[in-house]
């Protein structure tokens, strides 16, 4: 999260450390939950290693907005912060654009996210941020 400049709100767990007063069972459950959050990251690293070993070209790192801002008040700020803090190398940003059409919500659980990300991908401030932060937009062909 820090790498991409994503603001991470301090949670009660981090700030007040209530687990110290929790039962052993609750503490173990909290630890298990925290460890489970590492699994998607570990999966990403493992998948990239296997893909590269198989001779496929991949980005150095990947971020999916839908996963990091579902509770954010302003996803645009999150994306702008992300663009301003992209590390050197090849980054991949995964978006899920889509227009809303009648009956579409039943076809896709990402309906709300898709509409938001469509607007973000064409937002003038986002396009300007790419220029401002000297980001070179490429596709897989250019790897």
């Amino acid at each position: 999260m820090r790498t991409f400049g994503i603001r991470c709100a301090r949670t009660q767990l981090e700030w007040h450390r209530p687990v110290r007063r929790a039962s052993l069972q609750e503490r173990l459950r909290c630890r298990a939950h925290n460890l489970s959050m590492l699994l998607p990251v570990a999966q990403q690293y493992a998948s990239r290693f296997l893909l590269r070993r198989a001779g496929l070209r991949t980005a150095d790192r990947k971020v999916t907005l839908g996963m990091i801002y579902p509770h954010a008040h302003d996803p645009k700020d999150q994306l702008l912060a992300c663009l301003a803090n992209l590390p050197p190398g090849v980054n991949e940003l995964v978006l899920h654009p889509g227009y809303e059409v009648p009956g579409w919500k039943s076809a896709s659980a990402f309906a709300r996210v898709r509409v938001v990300e469509t607007k973000l991908a064409m937002d003038a401030d986002v396009i300007a941020a790419v220029e401002t932060n000297a980001i070179s937009l490429i596709s897989y062909r250019e790897l």
Partner: protein, 154 residues
């Protein structure tokens, strides 16, 4: 395609990949617009879904858009004949949902497609999911594009 000053250009590169190309016409159209008027540079085609043909036609309008394969083994009908991958499809001939595939995995009656794709991409013995994967790749080739990237998450 936009680019920054040369000093930083070589250091920070960004692929903006739009997922689910071909899932539905509304999604395909949005991706095309996001490429033309926004920052999207690449997309991944779900070649086995009914809207894939619409996506293939629209992709011809934007040669600058990189199109890769969105490997999909959990949604819609398979491109392979269902009889060749009986463990991955239901009685309706469509891919079983992930939960059902995992249930079969737990009961020992199936090879979970996700595990096969994510954990054994170079398996010596061709798996059923590998068969479906090859078919998706062949379908991509038949559209006339070289596959330029892939999504390996579904």
């Amino acid at each position: 395609m936009r680019s920054g000053p040369p000093s930083r250009q070589a250091r920070v590169r960004l692929i903006v990949n739009a997922d689910d190309f071909g899932m539905a016409p509304a999604i395909t159209d949005a991706i095309i617009d996001c490429h033309r008027r926004g920052i999207v540079t690449s997309t991944s085609l779900m070649a086995n879904l009914p809207a894939a043909e619409h996506a293939a036609r629209r992709a011809q309008e934007v040669p600058g858009l990189g199109v890769g394969i969105h490997l999909n083994l959990t949604q819609g009908p398979p491109l392979s004949p269902p009889e060749r991958i009986p463990m991955l499809v239901g009685t309706d001939g469509e891919f079983l949902p992930e939960s059902e595939q995992l249930r079969r995995l737990r009961s020992g009656s199936s090879v979970a497609s996700r595990c096969a794709v994510n954990c054994q991409p170079r398996s010596a013995a061709p798996s059923r999911s590998a068969s479906a994967r090859r078919t998706a790749t062949a379908t991509m080739a038949s559209t006339g594009w070289p596959a330029s990237g892939g999504s390996w998450w579904k």
